[in-house]
């Protein structure tokens, strides 16, 4: 049995991976603090409840990233000759499905609150000798949920591109969404402070639709990856790399025609290249040289088979 090489990341990328893991652990600590603060201040506000659920759900992505990367760094063996790269894709699917299911739940919950005309009723909170309306405490809680994710998300997006990690990218997008949802919730809280109870429920519905939309999109992306769809970039656009490889091979004078097919395998790309050649024979050494050159075009090209065939 020929076992694929472990490969994966360069030294610089390993440094980025360490940073990404640190950011994931930091995210988990931060999100735990947000979930606790939101729970203590949410009262009967539907918008606050939705933000609380979303913040707890946001922990799924960094957890999946840490689990996926722990497994994919294992060496391939006879039982798993292709390695464990697919763990990352499975974790991506797990995180996305969790997001989608809970998104669906909060959409239904928020719609029911609007239908029932449920109004948030928030009383006083006594801190020492001060009596404060509980609604005022929601603002600092929501600001704590709005500002840090902006920075966390930006840092993760850059690293996710360096590592070609879609789970990390999803996590960064979720952080950005957290910031937006907290901002929408502030509008909702202001609404019921003004006596416009419906603004709280509508804010909750907007937030929950956004969660559902994100979850659906990411689930679709994750499923297509597992179905060996042609590789896409972080934003979902088709990768140009396969075509670039094809163009390069056509420049070789002994190549008559070429076809390629690639798939994503976690962080890396695997693929087969079929050559139709002009000459009668080609040596193994020549094939290896071509394979090595292709692998040098992009760090992700680690599991490549180049073969010669009469008919394409």
């Amino acid at each position: 049995m020929r076992i694929t090489t472990q490969g994966e990341f360069s030294k610089a990328q390993l440094a980025d991976l360490r940073k990404a893991k640190m950011l994931s652990w930091l995210s988990l600590v931060y999100l735990s603090s947000v979930a606790i603060i939101m729970y203590l201040t949410m009262g009967t506000s539907q918008a606050m409840k939705t933000v609380w659920i979303e913040d707890m759900l946001s922990m799924v992505a960094p957890i999946m990233f840490l689990i996926g990367n722990a497994f994919c760094s294992r060496k391939p063996n006879a039982q798993y000759p292709y390695g464990f790269h697919a763990c990352v894709d499975m974790c991506f699917l797990g995180a996305s499905i969790a997001l989608m299911l809970v998104g669906a739940f909060v959409v239904i919950d928020s719609a029911m609150v609007i239908a029932a005309q449920d109004r948030p009723t928030i009383g006083l909170v006594v801190i020492g000798s001060y009596e404060i309306w509980g609604g005022w405490l929601m603002y600092p809680a929501l600001l704590w949920g709005t500002i840090p994710p902006i920075f966390l998300g930006k840092a993760k997006i850059k690293l996710s591109r360096n590592l070609y990690d879609k789970v990390l990218y999803t996590d960064a997008k979720v952080n950005k969404a957290d910031g937006l949802t907290a901002a929408v919730a502030i509008i909702g809280v202001t609404g019921f402070a003004l006596g416009w109870w419906w603004l709280d429920a509508i804010a909750a519905l907007i937030i929950s639709i956004e969660i559902l939309e994100d979850g659906f999109k990411h689930t679709k992306d994750a499923i297509t990856v597992l179905m060996n769809k042609t590789p896409t970039d972080m934003e979902g656009k088709i990768e140009k790399l396969p075509m670039e490889i094809k163009e390069y091979l056509k420049t070789l004078d002994w190549v008559k025609d070429v076809e390629v097919r690639f798939e994503e395998e976690g962080h890396i790309l695997g693929g087969e290249i079929f050559l139709s050649i002009k000459k009668e024979y080609i040596s193994a050494k020549e094939l290896d040289e071509v394979t090595d050159h292709i692998k040098s075009m992009d760090w992700r090209l680690q599991d490549i088979i180049v073969t010669v065939t009469e008919k394409l």
């Binding site: 006083l124 609604g135 416009w196």
Partner: protein, 229 residues
């Protein structure tokens, strides 16, 4: 960017506006304009009861004092529990009283205040000599399970003289019992319509300022009537 501006505006506006929060249905404004506060009463002795054709009880007294603080007249209306919930939901009344507690069914359908009194139940003894598996006379059937949970045997037969008594602390103290073992606690609240946050704040401020009134009113009830449940 536009979202950030709206958020900043919301924060500055609400903190700058001293009249907030507002009532969703202007309950406090209506009370002050009409000079009347409509109070739904669920009869539940000793909190609310009829005596010689007159409505009495600590909850009633507290509401009369609250109405006085608002310079309005209290208008009491006797209602069944479910009637009272429906009346609140349709804003036909402003508040419901009747010894209601945090654990009561139906609380989720209405708004409610912070607890105005925490009623603690004890097993009381005359000689502080309480042992596990002792028979304990329960002043109310609702205390049976709490007495049993603590390892005692609840009874309610007629001849219970000399037995320890499970009852509220204010009842035990009025009857000369020592408070030997705490068995249960329940927090009393008032119901208000949902979304009436300005009215709620006003009522809760009153509750905080008068948190010592209820124990005094309860001991008055215990001494006057020797009322047990």
């Amino acid at each position: 960017m536009w979202l950030q501006r709206i958020v900043i505006f919301c924060i500055v506006f609400t903190f700058g506006c001293s009249k907030l929060p507002a009532d969703a249905n202007d309950t406090l404004e209506h009370i002050q304009a009409n000079k009347v506060i409509k109070i739904g009463v669920v009869i539940n002795p000793p909190w609310t009861f009829m005596a010689q054709g007159e409505l009495k009880g600590p909850d009633v007294q507290l509401m009369q004092n609250f109405a006085q603080s608002l310079h309005v007249t209290p208008e009491f209306q006797l209602l069944g529990y479910e009637e009272a919930i429906l009346a609140l939901q349709s804003f036909a009344i402003d508040v419901v009283i009747g010894g209601l507690t945090e654990s009561i069914h139906g609380k989720e359908d209405v708004g409610y205040t912070r607890p105005y009194y925490t009623e603690t139940f004890y097993i009381g003894t005359k000689n502080n000599n309480l042992k596990k598996k002792d028979l304990v006379h329960c002043s109310s059937p609702m205390l049976y399970k709490f007495v049993a949970r603590k390892g005692y045997k609840p009874v309610s037969r007629v001849n219970t003289s000399g037995l320890p008594l499970a009852a509220a602390s204010w009842q035990l103290q009025a009857a000369g019992y020592e408070l030997s073992k705490k068995i249960y606690e329940q927090k009393h609240i008032f119901f208000i319509p949902k979304g009436e946050n300005k009215f709620l704040i006003r009522l809760e401020q009153f509750i905080i300022q008068h948190d010592q009134d209820i124990p005094i009113l309860l001991s008055k009830v215990a001494n006057e009537n020797n009322h047990t449940r």
